[in-house]
């Protein structure tokens, strides 16, 4: 129901503002509450300093990190900083919580501004007292005592409960509905407009009872498998054009790839597939909407409060200024809680009921009506000389997008292309988005070529890498992992992701006729580690989340419950070793996403080494 143009416009504005040096921060010291139209604000409030940001904390540690940044430059303890997040009436629009931007952009902006207010410049890393330290998560005590308030814990006194009627099929549209019986019930509000039906009542039970009295006719379209809907992609696809005014350029090329492929002594072309997968944040989305006259307040738990504000305003036909979004901490986001959906539903019902209304999605609604990570079809063709050195490289991604397209390798002629196709079902952002698919394809293809030329996978990669930091990551990893002396079923993958350099190593073995992961190792260089403890937590979490998509996760139109959708559990986690290269003097890279992108290719390459069979589709053990 949300408008995808709003998302595109919002992301482009955000990108251009940051590109044009708009990361500067306005300081309102010592007056609280003054408005500034640029990102991030700080104010003195009694004994504390309040830092205002539209970013939210969903477990990645942004609240603690931003407090560290301000504390460092103010010369005060972290406990003297209160970070006010996600409330559109109080914070500036400094962009959504996505693309691992808090570390590389928000932190420097905060530091620069605070330092300037004191007539100085940010402290050099050698003098850091708070940054670079493993400062414990400021929410820790609240989390372990059950006192932490999540979006779903928010209650508005007297709010009604809302439920929404859903079609039986994912593409179903409302044809007609008889809502009279439901409307007659005391205390029940029914909204039936624009093909959408919702019900509000005192409790969820009463709302459901009323909803069950509604006779709705929906169009009957069977939910066809994603791959069936993807079959015509290559005929339907729209070729990318160069556009550098966007965070993820859809076409990155150099030289003459077609000519170089034509001249190459040894060509190889391979195709890869990654399915749709569901974020499955443990907390389902919910929202409470309340109208006061023509002004709307919505409490929710979304990653991009200002984008949600635009989408809600548009859907309700009011101005953005009339909408106030308060985004509370969600129990997990992973890119799945960026757009307005449940907020619009609650707002429609609240307007009709003349009362506050709360809507909470069930797990089934999450699986069926939230967007999922796009499926991807990828074709890579490379041309090498007789010795195996790749000169020409063409990488096409159909449907999933451009993140992670530019290779970390020094190919002379290359073209990396994100082709647009019709989405089979509702699809959207997901931690690292298309980078996971693109790295799976690229690192699998590199491995295939290494095998073809009978080269060691690490030596082969190093031959194509100019970046000294990535070389070091690979070399250190090989040493730590015990490569090449390691067991038979070992694989590796490496990349440069959002300015971070990383490599993952995996060892596999057969057990009872089935492959098993024996151990894994990740080496990463994210520049200066601003909070090493939290960074390691993110590295481990990203790797483990990546195990699901690599091994067994696949969303289908039939996915309705957590029992039917397997995500990693304790027993799925092999021994994992993490190595962090901490470069104090180097600009920090965001690391919320990078660790997830190499899990699948590292394991796929290990399985090839183990079995001789190349798996070009995810999930690998599905």
């Amino acid at each position: 129901m949300a408008d995808s143009n709003l998302l595109r416009d919002y992301k482009r504005r955000e990108f251009l503002r940051l590109l044009n040096g708009g990361t500067a921060v306005a300081l309102t010291l010592p007056v609280a509450g003054a408005q500034a139209a640029v990102p991030a604000r700080l104010a003195r409030v009694g004994e504390l300093y309040e830092l205002y940001t539209g970013k939210i904390d969903m477990g990645q540690g942004a609240r603690t990190l931003l407090a560290q940044a301000a504390a460092e430059e103010l010369g005060v303890p972290v406990s003297a900083i209160r970070v006010v997040m996600g409330d559109t009436a109080r914070v500036p629009d400094d962009g959504g919580t996505w693309a691992s931007l808090t570390t590389p952009q928000t932190v420097p902006a905060v530091r620069e501004a605070v330092a300037r207010a004191h007539g100085g410049t940010p402290r050099v890393p050698a003098d850091w007292k708070v940054l670079g330290q493993s400062v414990p998560n400021v929410l820790g005590r609240a989390i372990v005592t059950g006192g932490q308030e999540y979006a779903g814990d928010y209650r508005h006194e007297g709010a009604l409960a809302g439920v929404v009627l859903r079609p039986p099929g994912l593409h179903g549209r409302l044809e007609s509905a008889d809502v009279e019986a439901a409307k007659k019930l005391a205390g029940v509000t029914v909204v039936n407009q624009d093909g959408w039906i919702g019900v509000a009542a005192a409790t969820v039970r009463e709302a459901r009872r009323a909803a069950n009295l509604i006779r709705a006719q929906w169009t009957q379209e069977p939910d066809r498998p994603v791959e069936e809907l993807a079959r015509p992609w290559k005929q339907q696809a729209i070729a990318p054009v160069e556009d550098n005014q966007t965070r993820y350029p859809p076409l990155v090329r150099q030289g003459d790839v077609e000519g170089a492929l034509g001249r190459a002594a040894r060509r190889q072309s391979t195709t890869y597939w990654t399915p749709m997968i569901a974020h499955t944040a443990l907390e389902t989305r919910s929202a409470t909407a309340e109208w006061r006259g023509d002004r709307l307040t919505v409490h929710c738990g979304k990653q991009a409060p200002f984008l949600v504000r635009s989408e809600v305003a548009k859907a309700l036909g009011i101005a953005e200024e009339q909408v106030h979004i308060v985004s509370l901490m969600p129990g997990g986001g992973f890119g799945g809680k960026q757009r307005a959906d449940v907020e619009i539903e609650a707002a429609r019902l609240a307007r009709a009921a003349g009362r506050a209304v709360r809507v909470e999605w069930s797990r089934e609604e999450e699986f069926r009506w939230a967007y999922a990570r796009p499926a991807a079809l990828m074709e890579i063709e490379s041309g090498a000389d007789e010795q195996g050195r790749i000169q020409a490289w063409r990488h096409r991604n159909y449907n999933a997008g451009a993140p992670g397209l530019p290779p970390p390798y020094a190919f002379r002629d290359q073209s990396n292309e994100a082709w647009r196709t019709p989405a089979p079902y509702r699809q959207g952002s997901y931690r690292a988005l298309a980078s996971t698919a693109n790295n799976f394809a690229r690192e699998s293809h590199m491995d295939e070529r290494a095998a073809e030329f009978k080269r060691d996978p690490i030596d082969y990669r190093l031959e194509h890498i100019d970046d000294a930091r990535l070389r070091e990551v690979l070399e250190r990893g090989a040493k730590r992992f015990g490569w090449p002396g390691a067991g038979k079923g070992c694989g590796v993958a490496c990349t440069i992701e959002k300015d971070g350099r990383l490599a993952i190593f995996a060892e596999t073995a057969m057990e009872g006729g089935k492959p098993r992961i024996v151990r894994m190792l990740m080496v990463a260089d994210f520049g200066a580690a601003l909070n090493p403890g939290n960074l390691r937590n993110q590295m481990m979490g990203g790797l483990i989340q990546g195990l699901g998509g690599a091994l067994f996760e696949e969303w289908t139109p039939a996915t309705r419950s957590l029992r039917a959708y397997r995500v990693p559990r304790f027993s799925d986690v092999p021994p994992i070793e993490l190595h962090l290269i901490d470069r104090r003097e180097t600009r920090s890279a965001g690391a919320g996403e990078a660790p997830i992108v190499l899990v699948a290719p590292a394991i796929a390459n290990a399985l090839f080494a183990l079995t001789g069979e190349r798996r070009r589709r995810l999930p690998l053990m599905g």
Binding site: G59, E149, E283, G533, R563, R569
Partner: protein, 156 residues
Amino acid sequence: MAAIELTVNGRRQRTDVPTGAMLLEVLREGFKLTGAKPGCGEGACGACTVLLDGRAVKACITPALSARGKQVVTIEGLARGNALHRVQQAFLDAEAYQCGYCTPGMIMGAVALLDKNPQPSEAAVRQALEGHICRCGTYPRIVEAVRMAARETRRG
């Protein structure tokens, strides 16, 4: 609607239970104890775990009526004043969480495990908590926290 009596975090309580209500609903909506979290509605994620007469149960699939006359302990009932329960303290020391949404359920599951098996092996910890999902993937730190808490018992 049926009226039941039960003990919640050491206090005798009387409450009306809507027909078919699960214990999770009564705890969260009735007693405003929001530490136990809804996650899947089918007992598959463990976020709603509480102790019922000392046993870890999934409150989202435990009928509220089955708690009649019993002792319920939630995450809010573990600490004694400012002193955290050793399992809470271990989770805090190991920073065994990211978003923390699964943490109350994880801690309750671990408390139930350590009551039965004060010195669990790593494998026993994993097995006991297999029904709990941490979507942020902090599993290794959780195992470490539970074993830290076990060492604390031995010392204590």
